[in-house]
């Protein structure tokens, strides 16, 4: 279907309107993070020289010592909810209601992060509850590969969900 008002964009992919990361190796040096997600692993980069673990993962250098000697290590896949927010109305385009976010506390090198909570109705989760890592598919994107033509790059992302008691 043509793009309203801009028919020349019919069937084209504008990266400037894409809410998901460009995960492909050709465009992103943290591509192993996404490869690991595909295998159900929650990982980040650790510096082999100074030992610093950074999240999000870094594609090139350790932010503590600027070494380029990095490796991927696994992170805990379960954490506890510190606080959570539940947005029911006015959820932005691209997300489903309810849009739930939580500050999650981990027993690991990454102490706290805010994540989207999925597979969870309003009111089901509370402070202190356990949540677990979950991976889901997001829309693939096209990449032009010269004479090979256009390939379709599959993509995934992660969130957390309640642990069923």
């Amino acid at each position: 279907m043509p793009v309203v008002g801009i028919p020349i964009l019919d069937n084209l992919y504008p990266v400037s309107m894409d809410l998901w990361p460009v995960e492909a190796k050709e465009f992103n040096k943290v591509w192993p993070f996404y490869e690991n997600l595909r295998q159900g692993r929650f990982t980040t980069t650790k510096c082999k020289d100074c030992g610093h673990i950074a999240f999000p993962p870094r594609g090139v250098i350790c932010p503590a010592c600027y070494s380029e000697n990095l490796e991927y290590v696994d992170l805990p896949k379960k954490g506890k909810v510190v606080v959570l927010s539940e947005e029911v109305k006015g959820v932005p385009l691209g997300y489903e209601s309810p849009l739930i976010h939580a500050v999650i506390e981990f027993d690991g090198p990454v102490k706290r992060m805010i994540s989207k909570i999925v597979n969870c109705p309003v009111g089901a989760l509370k402070r202190g509850d356990e949540v677990q890592f979950v991976v889901f598919d997001v829309p693939p994107m096209p990449i032009e590969k010269g004479k090979a033509g256009t390939i379709t790059a599959e993509r995934v992302f992660f969130a957390f969900e309640p642990v069923n008691k």
């Binding site: 400037s16 309107m17 809410l19 998901w20 990361p21 999240f55 999000p56 510190v82 606080v83 959570l84 927010s85 539940e86 947005e87 029911v88 109305k89 006015g90 959820v91 932005p92 385009l93 691209g94 997300y95 849009l99 976010h101 939580a102 500050v103 990454v110 706290r112 992060m113 805010i114 994540s115 989207k116 992302f157 969130a159």
Partner: protein
Amino acid sequence: MSRNAVILGGGQCKWGIREAHIMDLFQEAGKVCLDDIPGLKPADIDGLIVATSYAGRCSFQVNTAPVVAERLGLKPTSICTRCDTLCAGGSTGIILAKGLVESGNADIVMVTGGEKLYTPQKWEIFYSELASVDHDWEATHGMGLPPPFFSLTAQEHMIHYGTKKEDLAAVSVANYNYAAENPVAQMQKRLTLEEAMSAPSVVPPLTLYDCCPITDGAAACIITTDEIAKKYTNRPLVYLRGCAQVSLSSLSVNFPGEHLADWKHMRVAAEKAYKRAKVSPSDVKVAQTHDCFTISEVIEVEELGFCKKGEGGAFCSSKQIEIGGKVPVNTDGGLLAVGHPFGATGIRQGVEIMKQLQGRARNQVKGADIGLTHNLSGANAEHTILIYGIEPVK
């Protein structure tokens, strides 16, 4: 002789949902600014700093400064640049202009800021706000629009310090009432505590009046030196005494405080700015802080040292932020009521402090001689503070 930066004059156009092009808004603000300084001609201005974050997305216009210069009839010979620090863009422009005029690399700099956020279809700005946080790691979690982040922040403040919803409502009441007769404010209506307490929910515990609106608008001011300013004005000079901009992390995962309501980066910015301005928190007579949400103002009065950490709720609900209180805050209505076109906000704040220190503000604080502005940017990624005074730092 040392050159001391002053804010010579300025103003803003009408803010709100505007039926206008972004360049119309810059023209309106430029006119208000020059009308405030009789005798200053466009040809006298040798520098231009344009603060805008969304011109590139919502108006398809990067390298915005030369376009604005053209529309305003300016021919800058010292500096002509755009700056983007989202909500702190205007204040950042003022900081950069201070450095340029004090170092002698510019004489008279216009700092303007503006955004045209409402596009022909309204979904687009809500979607484009995904660009305002770390795109790959936070926008992906649906954190582009800030209410969820500040809901979490408010809950942490309530848990750690016992802050109540009434404390948040007191901030919206104070700021709406400051703006009730401000003709350029987006929201011009009086608000009662009952109305604020019974408003529709946005993201609990935040309700309608806890959140600033999305705003089209622009503002402009002139930064120059005290010696040059004397040629153009008989008003009291308002000096840019000190400033600081601090970013300790851009992501919630590396948030510098103990929890989301503990703003260590803002404390660092305040300490640096007070030291450079040679003043203490008790010297500040009026402040414009970044009330993007009511909870923000509650935490800001704490981190600025106007009250003890954890007592911001009581400080606000006991009317210490109103005229006659300890430190009147957001005396023109703040982001909550005047609105928040990101790049323009810091200029609006600087102009209000200038008017307060010159004794010509609508809600005048008697005897104001030291004033402060503050912005936070993004998902609490950065804090920017400027301190103004009627005397230079000695």
